[in-house]
């Protein structure tokens, strides 16, 4: 009987922002923002994103888009992932430069 009650609860609240369309929009905005970061990587990062990620003020626009299209927890998740990847990349690049013949 508890199961039936659970099944009929909240028939209207379907979180559409996690369905396919919304996801695709989010991914696009996310990729745009990170591309901007890559492009402007030589500029000084002055703005704070989240979870310790900083970005230059040139990317403010794409950041706003990113935050608009994606859920907050997703934004944090993607930022964290980006930082992780950057760190790994830096390690790999450093190793190469040090190894130089």
């Amino acid at each position: 009987m508890a199961l039936e009650a659970y099944a009929s609860r909240n028939p209207d609240t379907v979180h559409t922002d996690v369905l396919s369309e919304a996801r695709q929009a989010c991914y696009k905005a996310r990729d745009a923002f990170y591309a901007c970061l890559e492009k402007e990587s030589n500029k000084a990062p002055t703005e704070i994103a989240s979870v310790g990620l900083l970005y230059p003020s040139e990317c403010k626009g794409s950041r706003a888009e990113f935050v608009k299209h994606c859920r907050a927890s997703w934004v944090k998740h993607f930022d964290r992932q980006y930082c992780r990847n950057r760190r790994v990349q830096r390690l790999l690049d450093d190793k190469d430069s040090r190894r130089g013949v």
């Binding site: 659970y6 099944a7 909240n10 028939p11 379907v14 927890s73």
Partner: protein
């Protein structure tokens, strides 16, 4: 080589003593076997019970006692005195001691060539025998360890179990409803940013691929580990976008907890703001057989092709 010979001489003397003891006093042999001589020679423990012919050793006895040297005699004294813990023994060793001395006076020479050759032969024989035993033992160990690695695992992994959940149409589904067909189960949640959609896409693509490659029907199943947000409607909308055949299951938090426990799936809410959180969970797909028994699991590292091939391989092996 000289040390080996002298060691072998001692070995044989001890062996002869013990065997003669065995012959005279069969009942009391075990305690005798524990006295000083054999304690240092565990090798011979294995040799003696196997008994390579008490008669042949009797012949050796006579030959060896027939030829003795001054240097060997003191060594005889040593095992003699330790062996004399037994009264019934003293007589025989005294007798053989006598025959030693009588043998010495008869022959005169230190060691005859015949006894030397016999000694070498016995020594070599012992060495080869021991070596063979050791090699056999090592082979056994290596083959045993290899056998465990190569063969299929003993018994079955305790993954899987009964559950009572609701599918995305609102109907009750238990594990019995999934019997008779192969199923690929994935645990996730609808609010997953990127991993679950990716994995589910891989899952349904693999199911299609298996259908066209091998003609086998696999039922893809998605079980939510976020029952509080994943209602029936939510799950329904979610799975519809991936594949018409994809079954989405959800239920009460208790039911989900028991299913996750049965399938050994870890999941934990990352405590962020109240309604917007992510669920950390193990990323795994379970392949269950037609009897709903666990067959194989697939991790995140497989792509569509390796997933499809892995499943087909398991099905073919299972049928055998």
């Amino acid at each position: 080589m000289a040390t080996i010979i002298s060691r072998n001489v001692n070995h044989l003397r001890y062996v002869n003593r013990c065997l003669s003891q065995f012959r005279r006093l069969p009942i009391r042999s075990p305690p005798l076997a524990d006295t000083a001589p054999l304690r240092t020679l565990p090798i011979l423990q294995s040799v003696v019970p196997l008994g390579f012919g008490i008669q042949s050793l009797a012949i050796y006895q006579r030959c060896l006692f027939g030829t003795s040297t001054a240097s060997v005699n003191p060594e005889n004294q040593a095992p003699n005195s330790s062996g004399e813990a037994n009264s019934g023994n003293g007589k025989h060793s005294g007798g053989s001691h006598q025959s030693n001395e009588s043998g010495k006076s008869v022959r005169g020479g230190p060691v005859s060539w015949l006894s030397f050759l016999l000694l070498i032969a016995t020594g070599a024989g012992l060495i080869f025998y021991y070596d063979k035993q050791k090699k056999q033992h090592i082979e056994e160990i290596t083959s045993a360890s290899e056998a465990v690695k190569q063969g299929p695992s003993v018994g079955q992994a305790a993954i899987g179990g009964p559950f009572n959940l609701i599918n995305h149409d609102g109907k009750h589904v238990t594990e019995k409803d999934l019997l008779g067909k192969w199923t690929l189960i994935y645990f996730g949640f609808t609010h997953c940013p990127d991993i679950c959609p990716e994995e589910l896409q891989k899952l349904v693509a693999a199911v299609d691929k298996i259908k066209e490659k091998a003609g086998i029907e696999i039922v893809p199943v998605f079980i939510s580990v976020d029952p509080e947000r994943d209602t029936v409607e939510q799950v329904g909308e979610y799975v519809k976008e991936f594949h018409p055949k994809l079954i989405g299951l959800t239920g009460t938090p208790d039911e989900i907890r028991s299913v996750a426990r049965a399938y050994r799936v870890y999941y934990m809410k990352t405590a962020e703001e109240d309604s917007d959180y992510l669920v950390d969970h193990s990323i795994v797909m379970y392949l269950m057989g037609p009897d709903m028994k666990f067959v194989k699991f697939f991790g995140k590292n497989n792509d569509v092709d390796s997933l499809a091939d892995g499943v087909i391989k398991e099905i073919k092996q299972y049928k055998k």
